[in-house]
C-alpha cells in the first residue's frame, strides 16, 4: 500500500498548481501568482474565521509559490497559529512553513518558542518530534536560550521514545553549533557517550553525529567514546549481512553508521589501550579483506556502500599514520581503484592518495603509481577527476620525479579546462622553483608556462622568475638567450614581453656578442612588440630602453629618436609621457658615469621566499590548505637556497609542521629533540633553532636548514651562520615569566615576540607570535615570510623529561632588508611550570615538612624586597607559580605556605615552600624543601628574583 494516497490532496492546491503549469509565459505565471497572493491575503484578512483545512491549503499554496522563487511576506502569523492547533495535520503544516520560511532573526520567534514549549511538554512523541525538528531547522539564539537546558534532559531520560531521542540528539547538535556557549556540559555528557551502545541503531546513527561534534571541541571529556566506538564498529564489521536486518543495505551491514564511527575515531589519536587498539586493527584488516572478496551483489549500491566504509577505513589508517603494514595495504587498495571502471572510485582514490602522499611511510609507495596518474590527467573525461589527478601529481612530486611531472602538467595545460588553469599554472611554477636543480630548467619551464597559458600567469609568477634570474648570476646569460628566442615568435604573450623586456634590459649585454642578437636587433625585437602592449608593459619597455642606452651606447641615437617621437613624448598617458621625457633628458644630459650609476644592474632581491605559494593558498581559501602544502612551504626555502638533501628524519617533518597544531605529530618531534631535561648532558646549550637561514651565498653543502628543532647544536653549525649567544637581557626576560604564562617575551624596533603557553602535568604547549613591527617583509622566521605589520604563529610542544635548571634557547634568524638578524633568547620554560598544586591540611604540611629535613633537601635565601610588599600581589605571584597556596597552615598569618608536585617524565618531585615577609626590614626569607636537591635549589633561585 502506498504511504501517500494520491487522491487525498487538497483540490484547490492541485488546481492552482495546474494553472501555474499551464501558463504559457513567465508573465502569465506571475499574473496568476499575484492573483492567488491577493486572494490568500484577503482570505487571511477577512472577517470570516478560516477553518484549519483552509488555512492549511493556503499555507501550502504559499509554500509552492515560495519554491518558485517568489518572496512571501505574509502568512507567517497564520502559520504560527496553526502550531497551536491540536490537530496533527495543521500543526505539521505550520511547522513546515516555519522551517522553510522563517529565518533565525524573525520577530515571531517568541510566539514560536511558546508553541514549541507546549509541544515538548505534551509527551506526545509525534508532536515532540515536530517541535524538535523546528528548533533544529531554525536554530536561532533565542531558541537555544529557551531550550538548551531542556533538550539534554529529553535526550537522556530513560522513558523517552527512540524516535524522540534521535531528534533530540540532532536538535542538541544544532544548538551546540549555533550557540556553543549556551549548551553546558553536565552529567548528561557521559550518558550521551553511552548512546553509542544503544540497542536502536537509529539512535546510534543520530547520536554519533552529536558525539563527533562534541568530541572535536572537547576531546578529553569524550575520550571514552573511542573504546565504545571501536566495540560497536567491531560488532558491525564482524556481523553477517543478515544480523542487522533493516540496517543492512544491499548486503552491507550498517554502512552509514560504520562510516560515521570511522570518522569519529579520526578525531582521536590511536587508542592507547592495547586491547582496544588490537580490536580496531582487526576491524580495519577485516574491512580491507572484504574489499578483495567477490561482491555479494552486482548492484552498484552494494559496491558503493562497501567502498564507502573502505574509504573511511583508509582515511583512518592515514590519520593514524603509524601502522606501516596497513598503510601499504591502503596504498595498494587505492592503486587498484585508480584503474577501476567506476569513475567515482577513481576520483576518490586520487583524492585519498593525495593525503597518503604526505605520509613518510607511504610517499614512496604512492610514487609508484605515477604513470597511472599521469594517464588519468591525460585521458579522464571528467574535469573533476582530472583536477584530482593534477592535485595528486603535485602532492607526490619530489626531486626524483619533478622534471617528469612538470613536463606532464605543462603539456596538460595546453588543453586544460579554463576553470583550473590558474591553479595549474601556480602549481607548475611552485614545483619548478621548489625542485629546480639547474636554473636553466627553471627558466625554460616558466617561459613555457607563459607561452602556453600566458593569460593565467599571474604577476606573482613572472615577478618570481625575474627575482630568481637577478639573484642567480649563473642563469642570467641563459635567461637572456632564452627570452630572446621566445620573443622571436610572431605572436607572443604580453607577459612574455614583460619578462623579455626586463631581462634583456638587465642582461642583454650577455648575449650581445653574438651577431644574431646584437644590441640593435635586440632593441628592434622588443620595439616590434611595443605597439601591441598595454600601458604598464609599455612603461616597462621604456625603462628597458633607457637601460639599453647604458648597456649599449651605440643604440643611443635610435632609442632617443623613439623617445622623441610624438607617440611617446606626447602620449596621452601621463606615465608614459613622463617616462619618455625624463629618459630622453637623462640620456642627453647625464655623463656616462652618472648614467652608469643611475642605471646600474638591479641589486639582488632581499626576498627569498616564494609569494606564489601564498597566492595558491589564498586561491584555495583558508580552509583548503592541506598540511602538506604548509609543509611544502617550509621545505621550499631550504631547497632553493641550499640545494641540500631534505632530511629524511620523520621527526624533522613533525617539527616543521608546528604552525598547524596536531597533537599526534608534534610530540613525536619533541621526543627526539628533547629540548628540556638533563637527559642530554649539555642541557644548557640545547637549542631551539627556529629557522637557521642559509645566506644567499650559502654553499650547497647539504645543511639541514629547514629543520627548526635540532637537538644538537652541531647540526646547525653546518649552516652558514652560527646562532648568536643569548642576549644579555634574556635572563631578565625569563624571570618575567616565572609566575605568568602569557605576555611579550621580546621586543625591539623590528620584532615583537609574544608568548602564550599552557601546561598540564609534564607536558606543555607554547605559542609564539612573531609580529613584524616594520612595514617591510621579513623573510624566514617561522612561516616563509612575515609581511610588514603582520604576525605569524608557531607552536612548540614541550615535554619535561626530568628536572632541569637551564632554560632552552630560542634562536631566531631572519632577513630584514637584506641584513641578517640573529637573536637568541631563553624560552621561558622553567621547572615550576610543571607544578601540580596539592591541597593539604596544616597537620599534613608540617609532617611532610619534617620528613624533608635533610640539609641538601632544603634551600633558603634571605633577600631584600624589590617591590612593594603588598599581600595581594604576593598571593597572585605565588598562585602564578603553579603550586597550591595553603591558607591557615602557618601559625603566623603574615607568612605564605605553598605545596605542589613537579611532574616530570622520569619522576615526581614533591615541593613545599614557605615565604616569610618582614615588612619592617623590607626583607623576605624564602625556604624551599623538596625531595630532590636540584629542584629546591633551582626553585629558590627563580623565586628569589620575583619579589
Amino acid at each position: 500500500m502506498p504511504a501517500v494516497s494520491k487522491g487525498d490532496g487538497m483540490r484547490g492546491l492541485a488546481v492552482f498548481i495546474s494553472d501555474i503549469r499551464n501558463c504559457k509565459s513567465k508573465e502569465a505565471e506571475i499574473k496568476r501568482i499575484n492573483k492567488e497572493l491577493a486572494n490568500i491575503r484577503s482570505k487571511f484578512k477577512g472577517d470570516k474565521a478560516l477553518d484549519g483545512y483552509s488555512k492549511k491549503k493556503y499555507v501550502c499554496k504559499l509554500l509552492f509559490i515560495f519554491l518558485l522563487g517568489h518572496d512571501i511576506d505574509f502568512g507567517h502569523m497564520e502559520a504560527v497559529n496553526l502550531l497551536s492547533s491540536n490537530k496533527y495535520t495543521e500543526k505539521q503544516i505550520g511547522y513546515l512553513f516555519i522551517s522553510v520560511l522563517v529565518n533565525s532573526n524573525s520577530e515571531l520567534i517568541r510566539l514560536i518558542n511558546n508553541a514549541i514549549k507546549n509541544d515538548l511538554a505534551s509527551r506526545n512523541p509525534t508532536f515532540m518530534c515536530l517541535a524538535l525538528h523546528c528548533i533544529a531547522n531554525v536554530g536561532s539564539r533565542e531558541m537555544a536560550e529557551a531550550f538548551a537546558g531542556e533538550i539534554p534532559r529529553i535526550l537522556v531520560a530513560g522513558d523517552t521514545m527512540d524516535s524522540v531521542k534521535q531528534s533530540a540528539a540532532l536538535c542538541l547538535l544544532r544548538l551546540y553549533k549555533t550557540s556553543p556557549d549556551l549548551v553546558l556540559m553536565g552529567e548528561w555528557t557521559s550518558r550521551v557517550v553511552h548512546l553509542l551502545n544503544d540497542q536502536h541503531m537509529g539512535v546510534v546513527t543520530a547520536a554519533i553525529s552529536l558525539i563527533t561534534c562534541l568530541s572535536q571541541k572537547n576531546p578529553d571529556e569524550f575520550k571514552t567514546c573511542v573504546s565504545l566506538a571501536v566495540s560497536r564498529l567491531s560488532r558491525i564489521v564482524s556481523s553477517a549481512s543478515t544480523d542487522l536486518q533493516d540496517y543492512t543495505y544491499y548486503f552491507v551491514p550498517a554502512p552509514w553508521l560504520s562510516c560515521k564511527l570511522l570518522r569519529l575515531l579520526q578525531c582521536y589519536p590511536p587508542p592507547e589501550d592495547g586491547a582496544v587498539k588490537g580490536r580496531l586493527v582487526e576491524c580495519l584488516e577485516t574491512i580491507l579483506n572484504k574489499a578483495q572478496e567477490p561482491p555479494k551483489s552486482k548492484k552498484v549500491q552494494h559496491s558503493n556502500a562497501k567502498n564507502a566504509i573502505l574509504f573511511e577505513a583508509i582515511s583512518l589508517i592515514i590519520h593514524y599514520d603509524s601502522e606501516p603494514n596497513l598503510l601499504v595495504r591502503a596504498c595498494n587498495q587505492l592503486g587498484q581503484f585508480l584503474q577501476h571502471r567506476e569513475t567515482n572510485l577513481r576520483y576518490l582514490a586520487l583524492e585519498s592518495m593525495c593525503t597518503l602522499a604526505s605520509s613518510e611511510f607511504s610517499h614512496e609507495a604512492v610514487k609508484t603509481h605515477i604513470e597511472t596518474v599521469i594517464n588519468a590527467l591525460k585521458t579522464e573525461r571528467d574535469v573533476s577527476v582530472r583536477q584530482r589527478a593534477a592535485d595528486l601529481l603535485y602532492a607526490m612530486c619530489d626531486r626524483s620525479n619533478a622534471k617528469q611531472i612538470v613536463a606532464e602538467m605543462l603539456s596538460y595545460l595546453e588543453n586544460a579546462d579554463y576553470s583550473i588553469r590558474e591553479e595549474m599554472v601556480l602549481k607548475v611554477a611552485i614545483l619548478a622553483e621548489k625542485y629546480a636543480v639547474d636554473y636553466s630548467w627553471y627558466v625554460d619551464t616558466i617561459l613555457n608556462l607563459i607561452r602556453i597559458a600566458g593569460d593565467y600567469v599571474s604577476e606573482e609568477v613572472w615577478y618570481r622568475v625575474i627575482q630568481i634570474v637577478i639573484n642567480r648570476d649563473d642563469v642570467q646569460g641563459y635567461a637572456a638567450k632564452t627570452v630572446f628566442e621566445a620573443l622571436q615568435a610572431p605572436a607572443c604573450h604580453e607577459n612574455m614581453v614583460k619578462v623579455g623586456g626586463y631581462i634583456l634590459g638587465e642582461f642583454g649585454n650577455l648575449i650581445a656578442g653574438d651577431p644574431r642578437s646584437s644590441p640593435l636587433i635586440q632593441f628592434n625585437l622588443l620595439h616590434s612588440k611595443f605597439h601591441l602592449c598595454s600601458v604598464p608593459t609599455r612603461a616597462l619597455l621604456l625603462s628597458a630602453y633607457i637601460k639599453f642606452i647604458n648597456l649599449f651606447p651605440e643604440t643611443k641615437p635610435t632609442i632617443q629618436e623613439v623617445l622623441r617621437s610624438d607617440s611617446q613624448i606626447r602620449n596621452s598617458d601621463v606615465e608614459l609621457q613622463q617616462r619618455a621625457v625624463e629618459y630622453l633628458k637623462l640620456s642627453s644630459i647625464a655623463s656616462t658615469d652618472v648614467l652608469a650609476t643611475v642605471l646600474e644592474e638591479m641589486p639582488p632581491f632581499p626576498e627569498r621566499e616564494s609569494s606564489i605559494l601564498a597566492k595558491l593558498k589564498k586561491k584555495k581559501g583558508p580552509g583548503a590548505v592541506s598540511v602538506s602544502e604548509l609543509e611544502d612551504g617550509k621545505r621550499e626555502g631550504g631547497e632553493l637556497n641550499g640545494g641540500g638533501e631534505r632530511g629524511s628524519d620523520p621527526s624533522a617533518i613533525a617539527a616543521s609542521n608546528a604552525s598547524t597544531p596536531s597533537p599526534s605529530a608534534d610530540l613525536l618531534g619533541l621526543r627526539s629533540a628533547a629540548p628540556i631535561g638533563s637527559a642530554a648532558p649539555s642541557a644548557g646549550s640545547l637549542l631551539v633553532d627556529v629557522f637557521s637561514e642559509a645566506g644567499p651565498a650559502a654553499p650547497s653543502s647539504g645543511a639541514n636548514d629547514d629543520n627548526f628543532l635540532s637537538s644538537a647544536p652541531s647540526s646547525s653549525s653546518l649552516g652558514s651562520e652560527d646562532p648568536a649567544p643569548p642576549l644579555p637581557e634574556s635572563d631578565e626576560l625569563l624571570n618575567k615569566f616565572v609566575c605568568k604564562n602569557n605576555g611579550v617575551l621580546f621586543e625591539n624596533q623590528l620584532l615583537q615576540i609574544g608568548i602564550k603557553s599552557e601546561y598540564r602535568q609534564n607536558l606543555g604547549r607554547m605559542y609564539l607570535f612573531y609580529g613584524n613591527k616594520t612595514s617591510v617583509q621579513f623573510t624566514k622566521p617561522v612561516e616563509p615570510l612575515v609581511e610588514g605589520g603582520a604576525q605569524v604563529q608557531q607552536v612548540i610542544n614541550i615535554e619535561c623529561l626530568t628536572d632541569f635548571s637551564e632554560a632552552p634557547l630560542l634562536n631566531i634568524k631572519f632577513r630584514y632588508g637584506g641584513a641578517l638578524q640573529n637573536i637568541t633568547l631563553k624560552l621561558p620554560v622553567t621547572i615550576n611550570k610543571f607544578f601540580q598544586p596539592t591541597e593539604m591540611a596544616s597537620q599534613d604540611f608540617f609532617q611532610r615538612w619534617k620528613q624533608l629535613s635533610l640539609p641538601q633537601q632544603e634551600a633558603q635565601k634571605i633577600f631584600k624586597a624589590n617591590n612593594a610588599m603588598d599581600t595581594e600581589v604576593l598571593k597572585a605571584k605565588l598562585l602564578g607559580l603553579g603550586s597550591a597556596l595553603l591558607e591557615n597552615v602557618d601559625p603566623n598569618p603574615e607568612n605564605f605556605v605553598c605545596a605542589g608536585v613537579i611532574q616530570t617524565k622520569a619522576q615526581q618531585v614533591g615541593c613545599l615552600l614557605r615565604l616569610e615577609p618582614n615588612a619592617q626590614a623590607q626583607m623576605y626569607r624564602l625556604t624551599l624543601r623538596s625531595s630532590k636537591d636540584s629542584v629546591s635549589k633551582r626553585l629558590c633561585e627563580l623565586l628569589a628574583e620575583q619579589f
Partner: protein, 193 residues
C-alpha cells in the same frame, strides 16, 4: 554536514529546496540556478561529485548528485561527509519516495511538496542524518498518514464532500493536472530491484 538538498528537473525547475544554513531568499534562488548550471552540463558517465559553486562555499563544499529520469537530486555537503555514503543516502531517499508514492514521478513531487518535506524530515534533520533505515522511515510516514486520515474523518468530511461535488461538475480537471507546461513526459523512475 549537509548544507542543502535540492531537487530540480532537467530544465532547472526547482521541485524541492531545503537549506540547512541560512541564506537570503535571493541567494537561495541563485544557488539553485548555479547548482543546476554546474550539474546539468555534465555528461552521464562522469563521477557524481564536484566542487560546489561559489555561492555555497566553493571548494570547501562538494555537490554530490544523482540523476534519475527527469530529476536531479543534489546534496551539498561539507568535508565531514563520506561522498559514497551520501550517494547511498540519496538512493535511500529516492527508494523511500518510490515506496511512499508507488512509482514516484516528478508530478508527485510537484503536487505533494509537503509530503516530500515530511519524508525528508524523517531522514535528515538540521543538516544531519537522522535515520537511514527505509522501513523505519516508512513506518513513521505511515503513522503520520494514519493520523491525518483519522483527523480528516471527523473534520475534513465537509470539505471533502464539497470537493467531491465540485469534481463531478468539472470533469476536465484531472486532465488539466496531467498536462505539463514544458512537455515533460512523465517517465517513472527506474524501478528498484
Amino acid at each position: 554536514m549537509i548544507k542543502a538538498i535540492l531537487i530540480f528537473n532537467n530544465h532547472g525547475k526547482p521541485r524541492l529546496s531545503k537549506f540547512y544554513e541560512h541564506y537570503s531568499e535571493d541567494t537561495e534562488q541563485q544557488i539553485i540556478r548555479e547548482t543546476f548550471h554546474l550539474v546539468s552540463k555534465r555528461d552521464e558517465n562522469v563521477c557524481n561529485f564536484l566542487e560546489g559553486g561559489m555561492l555555497i562555499g566553493g571548494s570547501d563544499n562538494k555537490l554530490i548528485y544523482r540523476h534519475y529520469a527527469t530529476l536531479y537530486f543534489v546534496f551539498c555537503v561539507d568535508s565531514s561527509e563520506s561522498e559514497l555514503g551520501i550517494l547511498d543516502l540519496i538512493q535511500v531517499f529516492v527508494e523511500t519516495l518510490d515506496k511512499c508514492f508507488e512509482n514516484v514521478c516528478e508530478l508527485d513531487l510537484i503536487f505533494h511538496v509537503d509530503k516530500v518535506h515530511n519524508i525528508l524530515a524523517e531522514m535528515v534533520m538540521g543538516g544531519m542524518v537522522l535515520e537511514t533505515n527505509m522501513n523505519e522511515i516508512i513506518t513513521q510516514v505511515d503513522a503520520q498518514n494514519k493520523m491525518e486520515k483519522s483527523e480528516a474523518g471527523i473534520a475534513g468530511a465537509p470539505a471533502r464532500a464539497v470537493s467531491a461535488v465540485k469534481n463531478m461538475n468539472l470533469p476536465e480537471i484531472p486532465r488539466n493536472i496531467n498536462i505539463g507546461d514544458i512537455s515533460i513526459k512523465v517517465p517513472n523512475l527506474p524501478s528498484f530491484k
